[in-house]
Amino acid sequence: MDRTQTFIKDCLFTKCLEDPEKPFNENRFQDTLLLLPTDGGLTSRLQRQQRKSKLNLDNLQKVSQLESADKQLEKRDYQRINKNSKIALREYINNCKKNTKKCLKLAYENKITDKEDLLHYIEEKHPTIYESLPQYVDFVPMYKELWINYIKELLNITKNLKTFNGSLALLKLSMADYNGALLRVTKSKNKTLIGLQGIVIWDSQKFFIMIVKGNIIDEIKCIPKKGTVFQFEIPISDDDDSALRYSILGDRFKYRSVDRAGRKFKSRRCDDMLYYIQN
């Protein structure tokens, strides 16, 4: 092996190696075989644990019991709190939906057609379901006392509308907060949504989550912003009957209220909004 043939040395090695005498770089060889230390199965164990500790509402409470309350308020935990609140909201919505379904089933089985009768019945027989039922009445003050006053203050509405600046109001409305607003779906690609009306309890990026007053039971509905037009009214004064009417084009409104505040909106081609002008 040591004796390289002259042809190879002269013709091939000279071409591709710097030193034809030493075809192999000796630094490349090491005396001992190196082995990397292993973690003794730690990663697989961690992965298993992670899968087990996937968050839901039950073990969330355990975690919060373990940790003291003030520790959670620290800033470095912000991300985690944020994550948890998202999960909690999702769980709440799913829970409400599940319970309203159960209630409807109960109403059907017992042939109850009145709202109050049903509520009494559930309160007596199924107190756990009753506790987690969303009640429209609870949310009405959110609209009547909070949101109307907020929006009136924001737009500076007085009885005298002569000095009211419409375009400035539109700009402010595009940045306003709609949690607690009373919205009605007026036009939609999905015809079954038309006519729905409810109070917004959460304004997410792609959905308005509303509580809707029903004949028998109040429901929580997630209404997609895409392909839907929402209408709302701002009463000018309490004793008068007149109001200002505006609509939200859901297709151009797909941002969370936090992101919307400092946003510069842009007009786009509106070929997707043909449903808005067709009856």
């Binding site: 429209y136 009405v140 609209y143 009547k144 509308l161 009211f164 600046n165 419409g166 375009s167 109001a169 539109l170 700009l171 409305l173 595009s174 009373l182 009605r184 007026t186 036009k187 015809k191 038309i194 006519g195 729905l196 009306q197 409810g198 109070i199 509303m210 809707v212 007053k213 029903g214 109040d218 429901e219 037009v229 209408q231 709302f232 009214e233 000018i236 009957d241 007149s242 109001a243 200002l244 009417r245 505006y246 609509s247 939200i248 084009l249 151009r252 409104f253 909106f265 842009k266 007009s267 786009r268 081609r269 509106c270 070929d271 909004m273 043909l274 808005y276 002008i277 067709q278 009856n279």
Partner: protein
């Protein structure tokens, strides 16, 4: 809805005077169009872009639809809109569109030079691109620039009124329309009448048979006078009546309550709509007013 986006206004600059005879003639044209089934009509004021515009916003729109045509609208149920067409020759001389577009529902551009064409296909914030079909096009229309313009949301207009006047204009009209259809790959085309007298109005069948001969498929023809033309109206109305297409004044529940159909309800100066309260927190949430198709 059947839409005609181009009925000329008898004035070619701000200095011209409007005679009552011309307005009467226009009203006759409008009622003829109404007889032929049109529901939405835009009155077109053509003006040179380099001309001096009045400073006052109120003087910017000479058409004054509410005063002159309010009676006609009430009687027939027509919806009238104002449109401005800017003749663009040298882009450096013109002024900004933002102020002009406040006073009109639709803004259109009519380039008569190559520079004007490149400007209006790329930069200008317009709803419509139209040409002088009676004379030669300013330049050979390229598919790339026209289609990028259509993708932006600007529609191309064909004015069939030129085909009904004299032989010379008709010859140019045929070649121009064919070149417009070719360069846009028959996408985003709307058709307007440009009728100066009641005799130049045609109904949808007449227009379709004419334009179909020139190479536009007949389904696109009926779309060009219905859906696409109403999109132009929507685009134009949303510019003034909404904040960047997010929040719009007025609602959309009943018939003719949205921005396009609601011509009379929205206050143009203040851009607000005052209504009687119809929404109450005590109302039932669903199916209170279920839509019946």
């Amino acid at each position: 809805m059947l839409v005609d986006l181009n009925v000329p206004w008898p004035q070619n600059s701000y200095a011209d005077k409007v005679t009552s005879q011309a307005v009467n003639n226009l009203i006759k044209t409008l009622s003829t169009l109404h007889m032929l089934g049109y529901t939405h009509i835009a009155i077109n004021f053509t003006v040179n872009h380099s001309e001096k515009f009045p400073n006052d916003v109120k003087l910017l729109n000479p058409i004054d639809i509410k005063r002159r045509f309010g009676e006609l609208m009430d009687r027939t149920g027509l919806k009238l809109y104002s449109r401005i067409t800017l003749i663009i020759d040298d882009p450096s001389k013109g002024q900004s569109l933002s102020k002009i577009s406040q006073a009109f529902d639709i803004v259109a551009a009519l380039p008569i030079s190559e520079k004007g064409l490149t400007l209006s296909t790329t930069n200008l914030d317009i709803d419509l691109l139209t040409f002088q079909y009676g004379s030669r096009l300013p330049t050979f229309l390229k598919h790339k620039s026209i289609c990028s313009c259509v993708n932006r949301g600007v529609k191309l207009e064909i004015v069939y009124g030129y085909a009904l006047r004299d032989v010379q204009a008709r010859r140019q009209f045929v070649s121009n329309v064919r070149s417009v259809i070719r360069s846009s790959r028959s996408r985003g085309i709307v058709i307007g009448s440009g009728a100066m007298s009641p005799l130049e109005c045609r109904n949808i069948l007449g227009v379709t048979s004419l334009i179909k001969n020139l190479g536009l498929p007949s389904d696109r023809c009926s779309k060009a006078m219905g859906d696409l033309a109403s999109l132009v109206l929507l685009n134009g109305r949303l510019r003034n009546k909404s904040h960047k297409q997010t929040i719009v004044t007025g609602g959309g529940s009943g018939d003719g309550d949205d921005v396009v159909n609601d011509v009379q309800g929205i206050d143009d100066v203040q851009t607000i709509k005052v209504v009687k309260r119809s929404m109450d927190a005590e109302q039932l949430g669903h199916a209170s007013k279920r839509h019946k198709p």
